[in-house]
Symmetry: C2
Subunit: 295 residues, 2 copies
């Protein structure tokens, strides 16, 4: 299987040579504001089936033990069908690579929204199996990766792109990846919020440089300002929800609909137990999930 | 919460009076073939993000213990936003009804693809909490319900509808619900296959009138004949996949890509253990999941 993948990647290695820059990252900042083509549609918030694009192939994948969602996005209108994986998990890497192979995609980026504390990222393992793939994480995360993103950067795959928004608070380096704001990008937009905003919840703020004040500001300034019909795809769900919208969370999130003081009180009194994976996961995830390097 | 739901349903009870027929079911058979507007798109198989419709609100919901998917579909262009739930689970009924309430939908049908052996259906519990809701199952299932469907029936909610296709083999009464074949229906089409076709798998055929021969014929004649880009939404997934397409399963399903004899051999030699829930679930599910009635 891995052999087959490697062969395929050799055959379609065009993009690899384009994207084989090391640091600093070959990503262009979004300097000019694109036309807000989604404005009118925001009245239709939560009234759409799902994002529509003739270019985007999209798959949501679930890892049951840590209740983690991994997201696969690819531009299938592009000759090599470049793909990105957001928040892959080590134990489901083979499943993900097998699917990518079956769909005829070329994985170029394995991205993380942040340094996870509850599972080991699959990025390192993916890189060991498919060497062309570049790992991506925010510069503010403090983790090592092939490519670092900063707020305002664009991560392009084919003609599609993700915007990088800084959403610290769960950890210092959390980012949200948002599909592009342009008429040729998926409609409605899609926000991959990591642990910053969960469906009817949010990530804890008591470890890894977390701050409830910062999280409140992040969600309100970077996510709740998106069009109301933007789909929210979180890094986890523990109740079986798969997707929400900005409008739904602005109306029904039991924490983030409160004022800042109440939110900070809620977060200060969660009385959560010490994360059982944190002492393994965080050191590993600081180096792309390769645990031998973490010792 | 339940009180609020009831009030809301009283307020918007227009459709309830329209759909309050008991047996025989007020569903119209699809006697004339609608224009196949999806034909050209089939070249794009597996190249779409997801189904697109300005009318359809769609949510996939997961029940972790039995790895069951429940599907919520609603016509949000209709004044009362009529909704259907496919394969609800008893233990997640409150979650589902809460979401339906938050989204402002009016649940009219709680439908099953078949008499499940691995979990108790939520239809009976839903009816006890929201009395207007009608339970729906195939006539061939032998179960009791408010409304029975037969192959060729259309289940309408607002301006949207589901076709009923007979896909026996996992059980004698299995059906697949498929979104309508018309330009005003979701594109690509969506098939809710129950346990007939799973992602890279299929339901077992050794209980409840199961037949591997019948299942093979069902999938090949009723599902693999749909446009290749039709999304496959199964009743379960155990590996974290959320969706597939007809094209993908025709290419990569490890069982149903084989010839019929090989398939029958595979199914005859699965050596699966006795389903742990079957003696509770099947009697209960024959009467809408209300276990007191099953004794």
């Amino acid at each position: 299987m891995v052999q087959m993948l490697r062969l395929q990647f050799v055959r379609v290695s065009l993009l690899a040579s384009k994207s084989s820059t090391t640091l600093p990252l070959n990503l262009t900042p979004i300097s000019t504001q694109l036309p807000r083509t989604t404005r009118l549609r925001s009245q239709m918030a939560s009234y759409s089936t799902s994002s529509h694009s003739s270019k985007l192939l999209f798959r949501q994948l679930f890892e049951k033990e840590s209740s983690t969602y991994t997201y696969l996005l690819a531009d299938v209108s592009h000759p090599i069908k470049p793909a990105v994986l957001i928040d892959p998990v080590d134990r489901t890497v083979d499943r993900d690579l097998s699917l990518i192979h079956e769909l005829g995609l070329k994985l170029i980026y394995a991205m993380n929204t942040h340094v996870h504390a509850d599972h080991v990222t699959g990025t390192g393992l993916i890189k060991s199996k498919v060497p062309d793939v570049k790992s991506v994480i925010s510069k503010a995360s403090g983790a090592t990766a092939d490519l670092y993103v900063e707020p305002g950067d664009k991560v392009s795959f084919g003609d599609l792109f993700l915007e990088v928004r800084a959403t610290p608070g769960h950890t210092l380096g959390c980012v949200t990846y948002v599909t592009g704001d342009a008429s040729d990008q998926p409609q409605p937009r899609m926000a991959f919020t990591g642990d910053a905003l969960l469906i009817r919840g949010c990530g804890r703020t008591d470890f890894q440089g977390g701050s409830s004040e910062q999280l409140y500001k992040s969600v309100h300034s970077q996510i709740f300002t998106l069009p109301k019909d933007t789909f929210i795809y979180p890094a986890h769900d523990y109740k079986g929800f798969t997707v929400s919208t900005v409008e739904e969370e602005m109306k029904y999130n039991p924490r983030l609909t409160k004022n800042e003081e109440t939110f900070k009180n809620i977060m200060a009194n969660l009385n959560l137990s010490y994360p059982k994976m944190i002492d393994v996961a965080v050191p590993a995830n600081l180096v792309c999930g390769i645990q031998s390097k973490a010792i």
